[in-house]
């Protein structure tokens, strides 16, 4: 049995909303799991059920071999970092860290030792006497993490903890969280709607949509091999291009071009997905793109334009290429790197 086991977990709110549908998931000890999905998809609800802050309507949650369903949050030995940090405004940083330990009846010297160790690890030793209102966003974030670390819990839960920070700090804290987790080695679940955050942090990630885990795997697995239209569209930035098409006799006919010998027996209406980075320019390419806008990121150029049928399309090329606005590009798909989805169900068919 793995460290954290969710078995057919379902959450139905009193008003009848079904937030999580029969979700099963196993997380190994020391693993960094990320739940990613759009807002309202049930990822936070799932996390809060692990924490014990939401009741479980059906199913079981096992942590370290013990059934957690009826266990009070205070007895679960989990620590959570909230989106707005939820620091205790009337206590200084030291007491914020020490509060959970005091409640567990740990003696004063041990508490001091643990708080000082955690403070050193997070570089907040200088602020221990300050109130949270006197700290910057990044410092508050560290205090919130310190409060989790100091208790040495079985599992860390992060509920979108980076979304209140500015872009630069977010990237820095993202790195720090990852480093810290590797150093401390605690099993962690991180909830986010930001796919870049998800990709960079996760050992494994679960893409959640409408209360269902659409796909579970390592970030690269999910990026390379999305199993549904939703996952394909959600993971990857800029977003995958989607074109309508028809699949018949292993031949795909899409907006003005055909692809033959497709590895699928599916027949009918499909959606063709191509990532902007899986294209390259060549003479007599399949796709003809009229350039409308070029975003120069330095390392890359993002080329936005329209196909012949006025469909928006994006192409990513190395930053050293010069691309004129208004020009026509002829593009080929790299190495069969395209994805075909059943248009009605969204399931991958190739």
């Amino acid at each position: 049995m793995s460290f954290l086991d969710l078995k057919n977990v379902t959450k139905i709110y009193p008003n009848g909303t079904k937030a999580v549908h029969e979700t099963s998931l196993s997380i190994n000890e020391g693993e960094f799991m990320v739940f990613v999905g759009p807002s309202g998809c049930g990822k936070s609800t799932l996390l809060r059920m692990v924490a014990g802050l939401e009741d479980i309507t059906e199913g079981d949650i096992n942590l370290d071999g013990k059934l957690m369903n009826e266990v009070d949050p205070s007895e679960r030995d989990v620590a959570m970092v909230f989106q707005n940090y939820a620091l205790y405004p009337h206590m200084n940083v030291y007491n914020n860290l020490a509060y959970g330990l005091k409640n567990r009846g740990i003696d004063k010297e041990t508490i001091e030792q643990k708080v000082n160790d955690a403070a050193k690890l997070l570089q907040i030793s200088d602020y221990l006497q300050r109130k949270p209102s006197m700290l910057s966003g990044g410092q508050r974030q560290r205090v919130a993490m310190g409060r989790a670390i100091v208790r040495n819990p079985k599992i860390f839960l992060f509920d979108e903890p980076l979304s209140n920070l500015d872009a630069k700090l977010r990237i820095q804290m993202r790195l720090e969280i990852k480093k810290l987790q590797q150093k401390v080695g605690v099993t962690s679940i991180f909830v986010t709607h930001d796919q870049v955050e998800a990709m960079t942090l996760a050992d494994r990630l679960a893409v959640i949509n409408n209360g269902i885990i659409e796909q579970l795997g390592t970030p690269i697995e999910i990026y390379d091999n999305p199993k549904s239209l939703f996952v394909a569209g959600f993971i990857g930035s800029p977003q995958m291009n989607f074109l309508d098409g028809n699949l018949k006799n292993k031949t795909l006919s899409a907006e003005g071009f055909e692809i033959k010998d497709i590895n699928s027996d599916f027949e009918g209406e499909v959606t063709l997905g191509i990532r902007p980075e899986h294209l390259s320019q060549s003479e007599n390419g399949l796709i003809s793109l009229r350039v409308e806008l070029v975003e120069q990121l330095g390392s890359d150029n993002l080329v936005y334009g329209q196909l012949k049928n006025k469909k928006d399309f994006c192409y990513r090329c190395p930053g050293n290429q010069t691309i004129e606005k208004g020009s026509n590009l002829s593009l080929n798909i790299d190495n069969n790197k395209y994805y075909i989805f059943d248009k009605s169900t969204g399931k991958r068919v190739n």
């Binding site: 924490a51 014990g52 802050l53 009070d72 949050p73 205070s74 679960r76 989990v78 620590a79 959570m80 909230f82 989106q83 707005n84 939820a86 205790y88 405004p89 009337h90 509060y99 959970g100 409640n103 567990r104 409060r147 208790r151």
Partner: protein
């Protein structure tokens, strides 16, 4: 220039207002430091006389009342007990009522709250006979307990605390829960320190409310031993200067309370926000 004129004008109006409020009080104070024959002959005085100690000491220690059992000093003591009791008890009950209404999953909590709130429309004077008969049945007439308890559930304080608790983010409770705090610890370690400012404000408010009670102490005390200052104002006999001195002294405790606690009040408001 026009700004100078308008600001002088508004200051002038404020000054007139202050004079209207302060002068009568000053006249009573100034008159209370003269001898009674001086007041009887020359009317109210604007300047201080030289009988301050004589008059005030006599008032404090004079055995007044019908049975000559009560002194002003004892009345101050009674009023202090009553006002402090009302303040503390009503703040404690309101804090706990608001906590239950906001944080416990009580059915129809909102309805219950409005029922509590409606009691604002039913002042003590309206329910004074039933309240009295309850107190009489309980044998609490002529006791501090009887003075305090019937007026120490405050719907207004409950309203204030309830509204404040509703602004406390849920994450704080959840975070505290994960940190091992039970319901009692959350109340003591979080809500009480967070509402410190409001508690002080309510203490001031309820102290003055308790101190100013007139009709209830009048009804529930038959023994002079339990007379309070405000009802003593009416019961006090003696010469005019002594009554003036008593009026002035009766104003001191509420003013003192406000001056002392307002410091904390303002400090709290500016620090915690």
């Amino acid at each position: 220039m026009t700004r100078f004129i308008t600001s002088s004008f508004s200051h002038l109006i404020l000054l007139i207002g202050i004079l209207i409020m302060v002068v009568p009080v000053w006249m009573i104070f100034a008159s209370s430091t003269h001898t009674s024959s001086m007041i009887n002959m020359n009317g109210l005085q604007m300047f201080l006389g030289d009988s301050f100690y004589e008059n005030y000491l006599r008032v404090l220690l004079y055995q007044g009342g019908f049975f000559k059992e009560i002194t002003a000093l004892k009345m101050f003591f009674n009023s202090f007990i009553m006002a402090t009791g009302v303040a503390i008890l009503s703040v404690v009950t309101s804090l706990m009522a608001a906590y239950a209404l906001v944080y416990y999953r009580i059915k129809h909590a909102t309805l219950l709250f409005w029922i509590i709130f409606i009691t604002i429309l039913v002042p003590l004077e309206l329910r004074i006979f039933p309240t009295y008969s309850v107190m009489a049945e309980l044998n609490l007439v002529n006791s501090y307990f009887g003075l305090i308890v019937p007026i120490s559930a405050s719907a207004i304080a409950t309203l204030f605390f309830r509204q404040f608790y509703k602004t406390v983010p849920d994450e704080l409770l959840e975070s505290a829960k994960l940190d091992g705090a039970n319901t009692w610890r959350f109340f003591v370690d979080f809500l009480i320190p967070l509402s410190k400012t409001m508690i002080v404000a309510m203490l001031i408010f309820m102290f003055v409310f308790g101190y100013n009670q007139y009709l209830w102490p009048l009804l529930v005390t038959t023994s002079e031993q339990y007379w309070t200052v405000v009802m003593g104002l009416k019961m006090m006999s003696g010469s005019i200067v002594h009554r003036f001195a008593f009026v002035i002294m009766s104003m001191v405790p509420p003013i003192l309370i406000i001056i002392v606690l307002q410091k904390h009040f303002i400090k709290g408001v500016f620090q915690d926000k």
